[in-house]
């Protein structure tokens, strides 16, 4: 029996390593299609101020900033280009800002937030469905939403690069 368990562990161990993609631990990830292939990226430098009480949504607040200079897509020169003026223009706009306006509950730890998202000098109101799971004193937030990069002046229309960027948020506070 012990041997079987050991064998099972030996088998599972590399499988778990394989499954543990870098993405699961990055709080801000994004995906965009480039020539039909998903390009994954992260923004690792970010800060938040959260006061979220599911029982008091009216007074709840979520506010965060992300530093586009910390973008990583696996190709350094591409990252540098994304930081340039034709994309995030980090010299002029060092922060991406998001700030909640109001929330509604969708039941069982699910919510919808209306946020103001500012990328570069463009502010837009967006709707983000998200989940919040409480674990002890901590709250784990997860969300997935899509924006059109052209709405925010991120690059230009392209034959190969998609307009839509999927953003995946996952963190615990």
């Amino acid at each position: 029996m012990k041997v079987k368990i050991l064998l099972l562990l030996v088998f599972l161990f590399p499988f778990q390593i394989f499954c543990q993609s870098k993405n699961t631990i990055d709080p801000i990830r994004f995906q965009i299609k480039n020539a039909g292939i998903n390009v994954d990226g992260t923004i690792s430098d970010w800060e938040y101020e959260i006061s979220f009480d599911p029982k008091n949504l009216i007074d709840s607040k979520i506010k965060a900033t992300a530093n586009p200079q910390s973008i990583e897509t696996g190709i350094k020169l591409r990252d540098k280009h994304l930081q340039g003026r034709q994309y995030f223009n980090v010299e002029k706009f060092p922060e991406i800002r998001i700030s909640s306006k109001r929330f509604t509950s969708k039941g069982k730890g699910r919510f919808v937030g209306i946020f103001e998202l500012q990328v570069k000098d463009v502010k837009k109101e967006i709707t983000i469905p998200f989940a919040m799971i409480k674990s002890g004193k901590n709250q784990r937030f997860s969300a997935e939403f899509t924006i059109n990069r052209l709405d925010y002046g991120i690059g230009e229309s392209s034959l190969v690069l998609g307009d839509e960027v999927k953003i995946l948020i996952n963190f615990e506070k």
Binding site: N34, A35, G36, I37, V39, T73, I75, L77, R78, K80, H81, G84, R85, Q86, S158, L159, V160, L161
Partner: protein, 522 residues
């Protein structure tokens, strides 16, 4: 009667321009093909563009890396005062060992024959055919690069490693006969640089050419006095405002050092006027040029329409020797001399193509198609295609042209604010050698993103032709200072890094193989 006819012609022309769709309808109903319509339009409906107007010339080219030394070309008045070129019949140049018996005497016995009658150019086909003739037509008979003596000397072929076609023809120059006994070697056709002798000895017109121009030039210069070598090299390359004045430094050396610099330029690159033999440009592939928005490696000439290509041809067939760069002129002239009304007897500066000839030439260049690619899609190339996308190559080398048609700044160049609106900028340097675009007359501070179409018949690679094969482009060792470049190295240099464009270097060997296999299908 004549004014009445002209009025009628003008009215018909106006009607046609306004209501061309209505004109097309009955033609389509009658079953005439689109091709037929195109020919008809060339014949009756279109005007040949006026290529050299002061307004158009003013901002057609990008400014120099040092903007105060941006080219100031000759005026429209000067240009149209030049006589139009007469296109004589030209004849094949053979390697001396392959020349048919009696050919040389026969050439001297025949009369001049004018080969192009512009009044007969009516259809698209006519223009393309005439364009091909003009593509191979040498604009110089003064021996600008190679001479009559050179091409009749076996040693010249050995020294320059001159490729020959399968019939022993030297395809990069033509004999021009301007009268009985008047046989000149014609240089400076488009085809001189843009013709490739393929491995089977066939010719591929429009491709990155295989004329070993600088080696061939060096051979001819061996007998020239040192001062003449320096003078002609100055005409070709001087850009005294460039930081460190590398060409000035070259010209301060001995004759043999200068000849070595010429001889170091590999086949597939050529230090044409305004460029450099220290930072030699790879000869561009013209096949597919219709879809490219900038011309020259530095993107010097904008290519927005056929007129721009016509301008480029006119300018590059040596008229840029008359440009002023600040107060500097490559031939040592000044505005007063240039505009004195006297011909400037330098190759390509005392006559010009007519606008109709340029139109035909451009039409031909647009019409050149690549031969059938022997590299067919396979499982390996499909894998390479995915790697191409995964590695982000598509961002710059975007299908279907495999270029995004943008300009990337070289290291050391700060993009002026107004360029973002005027040009197509991809605002990141890929770190390749900045010498060509920062230290030459044609330098703009940018490199254009090259198309990858036709890689299978091209090479050497990179804008300075440093790398012979695609495998070398993906070899990380090329970034090391001990690396020996596989094509252009530079005179007196044993090893150096080939920096920049550091993509795909870390791929494993199988992925590299797949990527290269894919690239060769383009």
């Amino acid at each position: 009667m004549r004014p009445l006819l002209m009025l009628l012609k003008s009215k018909v022309s106006t009607l046609f321009r306004r209501y061309w769709v209505l004109f097309l309808f009955p033609i389509l109903v009658a079953g005439i093909s689109i091709d037929g319509i195109q020919k008809w339009v060339i014949q009756y409906g279109s005007d040949i563009p006026k290529v050299w107007t002061d307004e158009a010339i003013k901002d057609w080219e990008l400014p120099n890396f040092n903007p105060e030394f941006s080219a100031k070309p000759v005026s429209a008045a000067f240009y149209y005062n030049l006589p139009e070129r007469v296109i004589y019949k030209t004849y094949t140049v053979y390697h001396p060992d392959h020349e048919p018996e009696g050919y040389w005497d026969w050439l001297h016995s025949i009369d001049a024959e004018i080969e192009l009658d512009e009044s007969k150019l009516l259809t698209e086909e006519d223009f393309v055919k005439a364009g091909e003739l003009l593509f191979d037509y040498p604009i110089d008979s003064l021996g600008a690069i190679i001479s009559k003596e050179n091409v009749r000397d076996v040693g010249f072929y050995e020294y320059s490693e001159m490729p020959l076609s399968k019939d022993g023809i030297m395809p990069f120059a033509r004999w021009i006969v301007t009268g009985k006994g008047k046989v000149y070697l014609g240089n400076l056709s488009c085809g001189m640089c843009h013709t490739k002798v393929m491995p089977d000895g066939s010719l591929l017109k429009g491709a990155q050419g295989s004329f070993p121009g600088d080696k061939a030039f060096a051979y001819g210069l061996q007998k020239a006095p040192e001062n003449d070598v320096k003078a002609v090299s100055g005409f070709l390359f001087s850009s005294p405002w460039a930081e460190g004045d590398p060409h000035g430094e070259l010209l301060s050396k001995k004759k043999q050092d200068i000849l070595d610099a010429y001889a170091a330029v590999p086949t597939g690159a050529f230090g044409r006027q305004g460029t450099s033999i220290l930072f030699p440009p790879q000869i561009p592939d013209l096949i597919g040029v219709k879809d490219r928005k900038y011309l020259d490696h530095g993107g010097l000439g904008q290519h927005r329409n056929i007129e721009d290509l016509m301008r480029y041809i006119a300018m590059n067939q040596s008229l840029d020797f008359l440009n002023m760069y600040g107060s500097f002129n490559p031939l040592g002239l000044n505005d007063e001399v240039i505009n004195s009304g006297k011909p400037i007897m330098f190759p390509g500066t005392y006559d010009r193509h007519s606008d109709k000839q340029l139109y035909a030439l451009a039409k031909y260049v647009y019409s050149i198609k690549a031969p059938e690619n022997p590299n067919k899609p396979s499982q390996l190339t499909e894998k390479g295609k995915v790697i191409f996308a995964e590695q982000g190559c598509v961002t710059c080398h975007t299908p279907p042209y495999y270029t995004n048609n943008k300009l990337t700044p070289a290291d050391g160049f700060e993009i002026p604010e107004e360029h973002y609106d005027k040009y197509d900028i991809f605002d990141i340097s890929v770190g390749t050698d900045p010498g060509y675009t920062t230290k030459t007359r044609r330098g703009t501070g940018y490199y254009k993103v090259p198309s990858l179409r036709g890689l299978w018949y091209r090479g050497p690679f990179f804008h300075d032709a440093s790398l012979a094969k695609l495998e070398d482009v993906l070899d990380p060792k090329r970034l090391e200072s001990e690396y020996v470049p596989t094509a252009f190295i530079g005179a007196g240099i044993k090893n150096r890094a080939v920096s920049g464009h550091e993509f795909g270097l870390e791929l494993d060997p199988e992925d590299k193989k797949a990527l290269i296999a894919f690239l060769k299908t383009l």
